[in-house]
Symmetry: none
Subunit: 198 residues, 4 copies
Amino acid sequence: MKEEARVAILEAAEQVIAEQGLSATRMEDIATRVGVSVGTLYNYFEDRQRLLQALLDAQAQQLMAVLDTELERSRGAPYRTRLHGLLRAILEHAQKHFRFLSLLLEERSLRVAASSEELDRHQRLVNALTERIGSLNPEGLTQGVLRPEDAPHYPTLLLGMLQSTLLRQFLDRQPTPVDEQIALLLRCFLEGASPRPG
Amino acid sequence: MKEEARVAILEAAEQVIAEQGLSATRMEDIATRVGVSVGTLYNYFEDRQRLLQALLDAQAQQLMAVLDTELERSRGAPYRTRLHGLLRAILEHAQKHFRFLSLLLEERSLRVAASSEELDRHQRLVNALTERIGSLNPEGLTQGVLRPEDAPHYPTLLLGMLQSTLLRQFLDRQPTPVDEQIALLLRCFLEGASPRPG
Amino acid sequence: MKEEARVAILEAAEQVIAEQGLSATRMEDIATRVGVSVGTLYNYFEDRQRLLQALLDAQAQQLMAVLDTELERSRGAPYRTRLHGLLRAILEHAQKHFRFLSLLLEERSLRVAASSEELDRHQRLVNALTERIGSLNPEGLTQGVLRPEDAPHYPTLLLGMLQSTLLRQFLDRQPTPVDEQIALLLRCFLEGASPRPG
Amino acid sequence: MKEEARVAILEAAEQVIAEQGLSATRMEDIATRVGVSVGTLYNYFEDRQRLLQALLDAQAQQLMAVLDTELERSRGAPYRTRLHGLLRAILEHAQKHFRFLSLLLEERSLRVAASSEELDRHQRLVNALTERIGSLNPEGLTQGVLRPEDAPHYPTLLLGMLQSTLLRQFLDRQPTPVDEQIALLLRCFLEGASPRPG
DNA sequence: CATGAATGAGGGTTCATTCAT
DNA sequence: TATGAATGAACCCTCATTCAT
């Protein structure tokens, strides 16, 4: 099956890139990892760039699917519960695909002069992620759990906290239980750092 | 003066890397920007890697100096004021050296298999930043502004929010006034997303 | 039928080479044109080189057949008439197989160090062509239409004029009627550029 | 001197191409011939194509210079004398740069679908050559040496005869003295193949 | 016989680094 | 010390050829 081969290649690429970094990953490294020869890669992808784009797209699509599934599953539940589920989904996915976030942040993503195509790709990803988180906002507001004045910024801020939490874990090599992380995030995000009376 | 030349080279490197990205920046690009020839670069830096490391170190040192100055300046002020000043210092520095954060995030920084030397360098940077923010924690706790149970995570979370805010601005190409950003960050960080009674 | 397939492949090769040039023509291009897969080509030809040689041979054989038929047809007619017929045959063939002349001139054909096999193949072609034209020489001499001293060079010169005429047409994209071309060639070849008295 | 190196590279390229053919000539072959490494070639030419174009251009320019010089030198002499000089100049140049004509004829030059840029280059060359020969036409006509009705085609036809003569010599490996060749060409061109009365 | 995915040697090109001037 | 041409290893990509189905 042609599709299986594509997937195998993308998976190999993900692994190698995670290990070596984007710019250090040679086509032959990927090929070797899949167990095929270089030429074969080019039977499935036009060139290096397309392969990497396909990887990014696939990863993004996968993550979005996970999030959408979770959102669907929790439909009807209270805001806090749904947000909890969403964070769990993201964290669990990130744990499995830590490499993905690397890619997201890596290389050309933040270049000032990045080609608009590349920028769009990155922007679309971050936006999609932000959007999913933001889709809970209305409920949060309705249920009186979110302050309206800053609501539009919450998704961005949450993402930031999520990311820095992941990075810290990585740097400290101290994996924290997912539930603990979520609790921390929810607590800090909703209650703030300042103690509440009562 | 030998030192001036080194600085000029590092500044050029910062500019070019900001424009083209790390892996796309060639030694000759840097040389051209400084207005010297490639060979000259090698009179000041052993090789490409050392030059980039020197750049990272210089940037880090500069940021730390800024933060330390700010901490020194605000010594004695209440926690909230001092944090405000720190955030302002970071944001202003980031505005001028957006490139720096790029470098921080870029390329090899997140590689699983990164050489321990590189990883340490990155870790040291993030840690130093975290530490500066964390240095205010005791005061925050003493002054009853911070909840003790999560305090150790606050610096990390703040850094994450800071970063995602910067990224969002960049993606949206909508620069927000620094004061507004700080207000938002402080509000959300301290008060949380959930409305407080009274 | 095995032979039909061979012919189909050669025809496709002729077309593609005419369109893309020799060295730019890939086996797959030919296969696609025939409507088969690459592998099939190798069921009919040992390798790329043999296929191209077969094409050249086929083309040459075809042209020779045309010329021999024409020579046969005009047997007994006066020299001028027979030459006229020969030129017409060549021109008409060239019009249909402009590609062929390209091949003749192309690539390895003029290489100093060309393998003797390739060179011979080319030489044989040009020689065969020259020979057919030269076969009329005896009649031309007998009928007093040709000057004996230069007669051996006439075929070569005629071929040259023919070729440059074709090339010019191609470059100017101004197709001239065949009859006009023949008239011009015959006039210039037989009468010369200098006006004749009387 | 930068220019000397360029020239050396072009000369090496000319030699190698003459020996191996255009498409068989690798950049490394050229480099080896000059006695430098591949990289050096790219210090003087953007890429392979530009190098080859530069070669073609240089060769063309050189030939044109020779012809213009000859035309200048013979100014005022009778048509026949001037044409003689021109043919001699071309033949002598061709002898030294047989490779050039090869290039002219080779590869992409006759492709139907050749990019307009390539075609133009070739067309311009042939046209320039044709033009130089044609520049003598007015005198030929004035002096009554050329028949007016076919005059516009004479340059093309002469070029064709010239080329086929050179090719024949090459194929037969029988170098003929230049003077003899010129005499033959002039005789056949001006007087025609048919014997003249008187 | 036909297929077409897999192969991998080979060629073009880049660029960090060197070193003679 | 500055220069910048030369170097050549390394990487991306192509495509003739093979062979299991």
